[in-house]
Symmetry: D3
Subunit: 282 residues, 6 copies
Amino acid sequence: MDHLDRLIALALDEDLGAAGDVTTRALVPDTVRGRAELWVKEDLVLAGTDAFARVFRHVDPEVTVTFSRRDGEACAPRTVVATLEGRLASLLTGERTALNLIQRACGIATLARKAADAVAGTRLKVLDTRKTPPGLRGLAKDAVRAGGAWNHRFGLFDGVLIKDNHIAAVGGSVREALRRAKAHVPRLVKIEIEVTTLKQLDEVIAEGADVVMLDNMDDEQIREAVRRIGGRMQIEVSGGITLERLPRLGELGVDFVSMGALTHSARAMDLSLEIDIARPRA
Amino acid sequence: MDHLDRLIALALDEDLGAAGDVTTRALVPDTVRGRAELWVKEDLVLAGTDAFARVFRHVDPEVTVTFSRRDGEACAPRTVVATLEGRLASLLTGERTALNLIQRACGIATLARKAADAVAGTRLKVLDTRKTPPGLRGLAKDAVRAGGAWNHRFGLFDGVLIKDNHIAAVGGSVREALRRAKAHVPRLVKIEIEVTTLKQLDEVIAEGADVVMLDNMDDEQIREAVRRIGGRMQIEVSGGITLERLPRLGELGVDFVSMGALTHSARAMDLSLEIDIARPRA
Amino acid sequence: MDHLDRLIALALDEDLGAAGDVTTRALVPDTVRGRAELWVKEDLVLAGTDAFARVFRHVDPEVTVTFSRRDGEACAPRTVVATLEGRLASLLTGERTALNLIQRACGIATLARKAADAVAGTRLKVLDTRKTPPGLRGLAKDAVRAGGAWNHRFGLFDGVLIKDNHIAAVGGSVREALRRAKAHVPRLVKIEIEVTTLKQLDEVIAEGADVVMLDNMDDEQIREAVRRIGGRMQIEVSGGITLERLPRLGELGVDFVSMGALTHSARAMDLSLEIDIARPRA
Amino acid sequence: MDHLDRLIALALDEDLGAAGDVTTRALVPDTVRGRAELWVKEDLVLAGTDAFARVFRHVDPEVTVTFSRRDGEACAPRTVVATLEGRLASLLTGERTALNLIQRACGIATLARKAADAVAGTRLKVLDTRKTPPGLRGLAKDAVRAGGAWNHRFGLFDGVLIKDNHIAAVGGSVREALRRAKAHVPRLVKIEIEVTTLKQLDEVIAEGADVVMLDNMDDEQIREAVRRIGGRMQIEVSGGITLERLPRLGELGVDFVSMGALTHSARAMDLSLEIDIARPRA
Amino acid sequence: MDHLDRLIALALDEDLGAAGDVTTRALVPDTVRGRAELWVKEDLVLAGTDAFARVFRHVDPEVTVTFSRRDGEACAPRTVVATLEGRLASLLTGERTALNLIQRACGIATLARKAADAVAGTRLKVLDTRKTPPGLRGLAKDAVRAGGAWNHRFGLFDGVLIKDNHIAAVGGSVREALRRAKAHVPRLVKIEIEVTTLKQLDEVIAEGADVVMLDNMDDEQIREAVRRIGGRMQIEVSGGITLERLPRLGELGVDFVSMGALTHSARAMDLSLEIDIARPRA
Amino acid sequence: MDHLDRLIALALDEDLGAAGDVTTRALVPDTVRGRAELWVKEDLVLAGTDAFARVFRHVDPEVTVTFSRRDGEACAPRTVVATLEGRLASLLTGERTALNLIQRACGIATLARKAADAVAGTRLKVLDTRKTPPGLRGLAKDAVRAGGAWNHRFGLFDGVLIKDNHIAAVGGSVREALRRAKAHVPRLVKIEIEVTTLKQLDEVIAEGADVVMLDNMDDEQIREAVRRIGGRMQIEVSGGITLERLPRLGELGVDFVSMGALTHSARAMDLSLEIDIARPRA
């Protein structure tokens, strides 16, 4: 059971508990079989197909789920993207949980696609953040890539990001913070440090880091920062970034822009499951 | 460990893994203590305070979290709603996961408040659905109530909701479906049935149910349905409901209107944690 | 893993631990195959067949378990109800845990059948309670239905049952208790309230509830209560109910009678597994 | 979390699920405190006090449970054996699960006491078996000792018990079975072997074992078996043992008699929780 | 999931976390298949084959692992002991965890073989202890038997071992300690007691035990102890035992010698996985 | 429960199972209290103190464990490094599991110290690998740092390490492998690539990577590689590294040398727990 399986088990448990799907158990005999189609109902970028299929594997390993489209494909309304076959009861019991997952994944991928399109042709890459739906970090990160944006660190374990509080904890010295990080963290994680002023930036340049994050700077400040850094570090811009501002940032010479909104405020997209009782084959 | 604790454990595990918060471990000595304030940054209805506090209990039971506002209270920007004290390292490590939870809960409560306000003064109650963030059903349902809307069933286990596929599974007869439900489900769950036409409605009226759901009907059809039902069942309206349509529905004499958007598309609200290194007391 | 799987995993873990079945491991080579028959040894109503089969799936997915009888069938002594095939070692290792489950399920179903027979021909339905073997709620509830009796609520989550302490907690007012329940609980759960006097009953009638429970009343009181209620609520009788009293209750016009004894004191029925070493097929 | 904690977590989860105790949540404010007494309602031997207390620790660590009687004490009706204090809501939520556990434990202890009394003054010890309520092995074994009877092996891991199928698996030779067991099992577990005929017994005597189980023998056969064994092995008698037969067995010179009924068919004893809303202290 | 599966799940989780194998995911398409051979690189006794295979079952149930050698076989360098087929990505992801397990198991089995060889031809059996790698008790115990040594008790549950602190806890009396043990422990576990002086030994002889452990005695003391015991109990020698001392102990007439080093200090043996991209079959 | 807690729970479960510590339960009353000292018995570097203490917290939260020395301190024989107080039964039950953990951690730290000392004064850092005891990755990595060596990546998630099979999977091109890695992995993990020839090295230099691993090269090859790289990447040397070879490597100008032996073959160090029954305070 990897993390996604654990989340699915939890989601099914909150929907079924020990008492189960009382409606289906009362009305749908175990012998009745069903077919279903997963319909896209609005323009979207597909994501979360693996999670959707796994829900039914948890509910009943004999349900088959076959996707005809893959994560990352743009789909128009009225597209059928998957077909399902199996016990009707299992289709009904898994439906809501599976939809809850794929609708959110598609929402994120679709928003990420919009952001990626906004910087197309520039060197700028749009990054996600750790502001993901709790328990769905992996699903969200996969959806971001499916949409064409890029992943920042996955969690607190695969990248160092030094913020003001970390610096304060070592006595206020940017230099000391960077030195301790270089001394103690595993050899293959990069060190990024957040700065809010050009003065802080100079200290970072003096000591060296892998990436610097320019937090909440306006275009003018960013332009000056890029000039001072002179290619010695990668540059990330962060803080209140909107889709509208992206094209302009693409021209400033920074490497990355991170957007929490990709994962914290994407709405659920409209997909639905059309279920039929299977006709026995002649 | 109840369900919320299991979700929090999962969320922390995806953020920390076995390797942990490498930045904090490298930079923040265990002896440094911190204080923090949780700031509201936009108009919102507070919810998810319990989840926020529990995250820190998972990270470090010695962190204290004290809320001065309660779930359901409307808060203006620049309100401090909680203070935290404990090891600085623990505050930094739990920050993102705790914010991810409360920001979503507040988003749902704030939207629920808008919906509840839209039907104020009518008999109509706005209900949520099972379209909740996977793993966060309880958090979402609590936030809905904090906002002033009402809970439909929690999961598949605490209410019968008969849809077209269930009816098809028993051979297409509304009557047979209702009879089986009455015969097999636990004695204290109510039976609701979905109808899309007035003809189906007549069958339901003939056989009797606790609640009838009018799915995707226009105002005219709803008015006629209410007339035919004549108070013998509770009435729920469902399907593509927007905040704008709510006031008009309030005048039609139905009991409930369910809105998936309350929980599937609420955006995260802006709250942030301001952390300081604690000054030792003189 | 649903709840029954979790219980089975726990039961196997307490029987096997990390050290396992030392006798079988020392004596039975993995290559020896076996066949077994599950024999009924006394008159009983069959239940728990799914749990029995699942135990072997946990021990060894290659064991096949085929039942020729179904839950709810009455079986006479010397009936073979299932055959098993697989590694002899797996049959021996799973035997006791599988029997422990099915023997208890059959005990409950057999007692439930007796209770159901005692009220046959009347409108009275015999209900179970939450007095089930801890960890086996679902198994017990299924066995009750297999026997022909009915399920009260499954747990604390799928029905409201207001008792004296709940009433006291809101200041002693039956009316206030019912109002709060109506205001706060999910829309599809019914509200039942327990009364011990006719005076309390009158308050309930005034405020309205879905079901009223007459606790520990004698036949005379029950008769009077039925008269006052006049069909406006469903009526449950509870408290010290014996099989002997059931037929008389059937004539009083109440809807339900709940019996804790169905699940808290059913004895284990006698079934045994006859195992043979499998002869290779010619 | 040891095994009992895992069972309690499972039992609470089946009673509460993700939705929780909807009645209590709707009616009992978190600020109301309660006191409760645990009353014994019939003659019984107390057992399961630890399990009872732990349930409330799971529900709410701030509830205090204080027992004035200990496992193994005989209690008369109308004895108060424990007092509880804490949030009224927590007392109500944990009540049923806690009672379900202690009522079963007391049932086993009380039956074990009857069996122990029936052999008092003889060398015979009454043993339990592995026919325990699934998930409650430890609780049941503790209750057996509280009643004054003795524990056979706990599970398949702490004792070797060779039955006919094990012998068949090594080719039918009692001698070979015993040799393999002696060669392969951990050094501190004893080896017991079941025999159904005196001929088999002679083979066992020739090869040597720690304990021999005489299965389904009548008094005459048992007497002869005891004579042949002549003190070289411990002797257990098993199969269809009733309380009535125990005194006679006590005179035959065997060491142990095992009774499945101690744990598979003990009924739940009557204990109840009397809860009051706590008066604030003046 | 038995204990080994739980350990494997934990080991994979610490290696993969929620973020997974980032290298393989970026570089190895899911459609590429691979073959691999498991090579022995130094003289060793094979063990841990089941654990090795299970790792891949956790990673991807479609990987096949076929061993041509069995636990307990001595293997020379350059022996191929298993072949694997499946998705290349799955082979790469599981490789390290699977090797970590089998390398340790082989280390233990190889050391156990040396110890067993050192006492060949004597009645002395070399036993392991509970000084095993945490979480790997079963793997270690199986490896000990594969090497030809014997298992002492598995854990604290399947054998009584009375040490000085236990004796002190009952007031210092060896006699009282043995009596309580005989009175309270399950009937099929043996009672062993540790003695450090001949005086203590005499007390044990007087009261009787199943096994006596002579702790840290020299050859002379052991010889005298054997003489006094005179065959009435089994004898275990323990404390600072080296491979060199074993042959001499074999002549002293003791039954067992226990060596913690078998499992606490065996080094990892050299085995490696040679992976190739599978050629498609013509 | 973080990963270490999960491993401890597993280790205690394999030692205790559902049946528990039968010796202690039979002999040591719950009211007897004890004190203990943890003694170092040979020269070692201390590590694993947190794991040691946590074991007792799992067994009994009321046991106090107080260390007077910290991870990383060198300790001579006969040093007392911790004192414990609590129920004697809890001390006895947790003793072996706690020792099994700290003895292994100290073994790793002591070996890491030797390696660190061997390169003191050079720029070379000794790294660990992923060849850690399964389930104990974190404990082992912490012990490596306590000893003064450095951590390579923690798992497959916090660093990219491209090996020959990954290159083969993309068609054999080093360039393509590096490009895909740069395109797909999270922004804060570094990319390391393994080369076995100078020709491969040239390809890596052409495309660029963060770190290059020179696998199984002799000193001459390493020297040439360092020259060609010319400071453009960090350099790791790997493959069959012994303590003896370390000083020489320190002079070659490489940055890191990784040694699997640090964690896969460290032996357990000798520490023991001296337990006494606590004298009541006067």
